[in-house]
Point group: C2
Chain length 334, copies 2
Amino acid sequence: MANILDVAVHAGVSRTTVSRVINDNDRVDDETRNKVLKSMKELGYRPSRLAQSLRKQKTGMIAVLVSRVSNPVNSILLQGIEDEAAKHGYNVILCNTENDAHKELKYLKMSQDQQVDGIIMTGIRNDYELVQSFEQYGPIVMISQYTEHDIFPAVTVDNFAAAYTATKHLVKLGHRKIGMVSGKRQSMILRDREAGFRKALSDSNIPLIEEWVKETTGFTIMNGKRYVDELFLAEERPTAVFAANDELAVGVIQGVKERGLTVPRDMAVVGFDGQFICTVIEPHLTTMAQPIEQLGSLGMSLLVQKLRGEMIHTQRIVLKTELIIRNSCGAKGM
Amino acid sequence: MANILDVAVHAGVSRTTVSRVINDNDRVDDETRNKVLKSMKELGYRPSRLAQSLRKQKTGMIAVLVSRVSNPVNSILLQGIEDEAAKHGYNVILCNTENDAHKELKYLKMSQDQQVDGIIMTGIRNDYELVQSFEQYGPIVMISQYTEHDIFPAVTVDNFAAAYTATKHLVKLGHRKIGMVSGKRQSMILRDREAGFRKALSDSNIPLIEEWVKETTGFTIMNGKRYVDELFLAEERPTAVFAANDELAVGVIQGVKERGLTVPRDMAVVGFDGQFICTVIEPHLTTMAQPIEQLGSLGMSLLVQKLRGEMIHTQRIVLKTELIIRNSCGAKGM
DNA sequence: ATGAAAGCGCTAACAC
DNA sequence: GTGTTAGCGCTTTCAT
């Protein structure tokens, strides 16, 4: 591969001039420029981004940490992120943390070693004290999740309000025995969703039965089913369930159906996220939809702003959620 | 940030020695090594991968080109790829080509500029002549897809045989009016699937009705529904459909159900891929499952081999598919 | 408008 | 076993 010196010699100018042509922010005589351009073309020259990066101390790389890409929500988030990154000339390094604190740290250090220009995190598994120093690894923006005291700028939805509304929907339909199935409680947004759920019940003077409120190991259909299994161990069951995510909701529906019962008649279910799975399950899932791809693209553009050194006035950008009413609660159009 | 010279000075040795400690493949006196290690720790030194890359002409980066990450199959592929990459110390750059020839080329050039160590492609949109010179951008391995004349080593399944088996399954159930809905025909594996489908019919002396064999713009539920719409325009319809992918199959099922008809009674459906969506749709989808995550990890390890300069004896690694019989064909256990 | 020279941070010959 | 030196390919003062 031809390098900048080859081009310079070929065009009969100095490397500096060639560099000026490449970066074209400096004044170069039109004639010289054309000469250089011609040489570059003839030699098939392409500047080494490695060398540029080393010199400029900018790589044009963004590390994106997700639990697993294969998680549907994460993959959509990533879609939004990569699209937006490409628009600004950034490349995305994919990092699967597997929700593991060590891997999270490993990728953070890699980001520093690699001198990525920025880091996007979609969750955090390390402890608060450690997290406070995370920006030593690079400028960070959070998407979907956020931290206590808003250590990093974040793009999220109002999970409390969304959960509140979703739960209220069940209340309005007349339910007074309502349960909730969630993922790992340690994440801020799941705490918010649970808090919203609890507030909606107390505001409605509905007693909260702790046995009906369960944490699970994660957002899977299987965990939704298991929740139903546990529910059926007891004498009394809720007539409605708020699931903290669509997959859990699907699991609940399947669990109920497997017992020969009917959704929503025997059990109403409302989900969270609004992915495509909602209209595959029967009955179609009523859900609190969040604009996932937009969370990704907006988060990325927030990071771009930050990298440009523009003041970030917003510590948190909150996007709108929307309750999409389908058939899993028995309330078409209400 | 401390650099290698800082460490050298601090430890009272030369940069070379520090470098030797970092890469520890060279003999260094134990005492010296400890001195250096101590200095590194005290200064919080981490070697710049940028500088290392420039010097070694190796970046430890792999570019992965997919149409869109948000496509479920792609995201699982990527999961397998990134996992395996991490095991070998490689990082993955995510590239969404949107099935666009220009973007494909853009990312390929970026790969070259960035001096990635290798490239994984999961599809190709450019013309054969151009593709032949693609390795100028870096060492390439293909996953899932492959090219004519096997230009690049590839990890795939036998799509012809798989489609043949899937179709034969419908035949064995007594169907003689069978249609097929596919994605873009330009891809090799879709051609194979269609060829397998056609062969299965002709081997069974079943007439092929061209009106029932349709190409669509891509693997979406909507396109599956549209296929059913077209089917219902005609007097006569197939009693069974082979869908080239699970999403299309789900669309077909939904389309049939929306007309008040029943799957599998009025229309049997078999899919392809074997993702989780199969057990969400009602009835559960009989499908030709391929080991998607394994395709990814195996493809990545093939690339690693290639980068190590090991002879690649296999031009194509073919993984097993498996027909998973559920309820969309009315043949539990047959 | 152009060039000379220094240097980003590291590794690899080669010498001792 | 350790150090000297050159150089990976580029950008950026500072001159002219």
